[in-house]
């Protein structure tokens, strides 16, 4: 097993066809989920008729800017950690030098990259934030009360590519080839999981906010932030 996990054949597969599969599942799955949401929403009398672009944007704006909503201001620590976590989670893989090199080798496309030390720090931030979320699940009573196995699995799914990426880059603890294989695999698993697990909040955030923003703003003349 260990031999298989360290094999160059696996590496080639994960780096080649599996990337395509992962992206097809991620993008295709996302499109599918969004389309099915939109078509199901057509059956409702209360969704489309009340949507308002202005109030959807107002709501989204107040919830993607740190401290722009009341609840965010009431919980400065959680707000800071959540925003730090999500920005590092999204930007680190996109602007990582090693990732960009792979893209450049394949298609000769290049874009801005993060300095290595910054990317390293951002990876650690993601990991520490996940540890924070994990501890919060154990400690905060209101969170512990509603936590189920799936919540831990999701945290693990997100943590895996970052931890393995960090270890592979620094070449500590395990064999490099092994760690890289685990890193690529876990990254692909995370991508594929987005449309089909609670990670789908990445896709649905915009829609749930748009609806609530419209209902609050356009229909009920009040604010949802």
């Amino acid at each position: 097993m260990y031999e298989f996990l360290t094999s160059i054949e696996l590496y080639r597969f994960l780096k080649g066809p599996m990337v395509w599969i992962a992206f097809i599942v991620f993008i295709g799955g996302s499109i599918f989920r969004i389309c099915s949401l939109m078509s199901r929403a057509k059956g409702s009398k209360v969704l489309y008729p009340y949507l308002s672009v202005k109030y959807s944007l107002r709501s989204i704006f107040h919830w993607v800017i740190p401290f722009a909503s009341t609840n965010m201001r009431k919980r400065p620590w959680i707000t800071s950690i959540t925003f730090l976590f999500h920005s590092c989670l999204i930007f680190t893989p996109i602007f990582l030098f090693a990732h960009n090199m792979l893209v450049r080798e394949s298609w000769n496309i290049r874009w801005w990259t993060l300095p290595e030390r910054t990317a390293d720090a951002m990876t650690l931030i993601v990991v520490f934030c996940i540890v924070f979320f994990l501890l919060r699940r154990f400690i905060a009573p209101e969170v512990r009360y509603v936590t189920s196995a799936s919540d831990y699995i999701i945290l693990g799914t997100v943590a895996a590519p970052f931890i393995s990426g960090y270890l592979a880059f620094h070449q500590v603890f395990f064999d490099y080839r092994f760690m890289v294989n685990i890193h690529i695999l876990s990254g692909e698993v995370m991508l594929m999981a987005i449309p089909f697990t609670r990670l789908s909040h990445m896709l649905f955030f915009w829609f749930t906010r748009a609806y609530t923003g419209s209902e609050f703003g356009a229909v009920r003349h009040s604010r949802d932030f």
Partner: protein
Amino acid sequence: MAETIRKPVSDPGMDEPARKLSVDKIEKIIRWVIEKEADARLETYVETCTHCGLCSEACHYYLSYKRDPSYSPVSKVRYTLSDMLKRKGRVDGETVKTYARIAYTECNLCRRCSMYCPFGIDISYLLSLVRRICGLLNVAPQYLQDNTNSHIHTFTQSWVGQDDYVDTVQFIEEELRMEIKNARIPLDKAGAEFMYAPHSHEVTFKTHLLANMAKILNVAGVSWTMPSEDGWENTNQAMHAGYYETMGMIEKKHFEAAFRLKVKKILAGECGHAFRAAVYDGTRWLSWKNPPVTYISAVQFFYELIRDGKIKVAKKIQEPVTLQEPCSFVRNRGLGDMLRYVIKATCEDFIDVKPNYEHNYCCCAGGGVINYGPPWKFVRMEGGRTKIKQLKDTGARIVIAPCHSCHKTIEEMSDFYKLGWHVLFANELLVKTMEIPEGIKATQE
């Protein structure tokens, strides 16, 4: 997670039907609601919620019960709807009773949590679905079921027949003439500008409220009417019970009364849920986007009367007053400023609550909880502790509560906690302070 401890409550409306239910019947109803009736929101919300618990502090129950996690909005969904989904609807009657207790008595459907959820999940919609399921299974507080039966038989929530209603209205009119010369409560006046839609309590044990409204309308010289037939009352407890077919029927009758009289607007009395049912839930159930007749609340109406000088304030109330903002008028209609305008016009010393406007706490009587009768009174008294604290902090002893549910529960809490507060409707404020022109004052003989 350990079972939540709740004191046992016996409610024949929940206990007996729950005993008789079969698992197959429960499964059929749950699946029908979840698969056929619920819209895209259900699936999206259940899948989007990351169980972060950030909605907890929005809930006055959670705060009143010393941050007991079982009262947080997310847990109420987790242990009702999510549980049904996980078990594919195959649950027994006892479990349905637990769902019913959570959805009916531990949530006021005030929608405050939606403002605290980072995804804006409409948690009250999810708990309404639970109420809908329990309602279809007939597992609902007995008093609420009784209200719904009353709606079906008399089109009012408290068994007021049409004859009693007309009689009372005419009696109030006669009494009003002692104060206002030729005062009228015009019944069936076609083409009037407003049709006044009261709560049925205004013609039973709170008749002074209808008298107040009639007085204001007479002094302001507004063209108005009330229908003599069914559809005059605008409350809708069927909405809270989850009997949506009945809810639709009530609103249809109500709007038809307005169509028949060809009025321009319906003027709703100070009842929050009635306004909500007419403007949102009932209207939408009947497939209208907006109410078919312009629907305005008493709060907005009073604001317009004072702004346009139709009502003049003679002497303001001097004592400090504070405000309970009904969720249906403020969070769900944005009338916070108009309400304050009316209060500031009639009171010298207004002390605002904190948090206020859409962030204000529910009084813990909304969502029908006010009507569950003696078995559930403790829910309001305990769940309302957040409200009591908030109002106490202002130091005022007069509380303006322009909603029947808020008014009644705050009065009861004031009594229960021995606070000696005086709770006033907005119409009482106006009547206490307005100027009655000499020309229309009745001459005492």
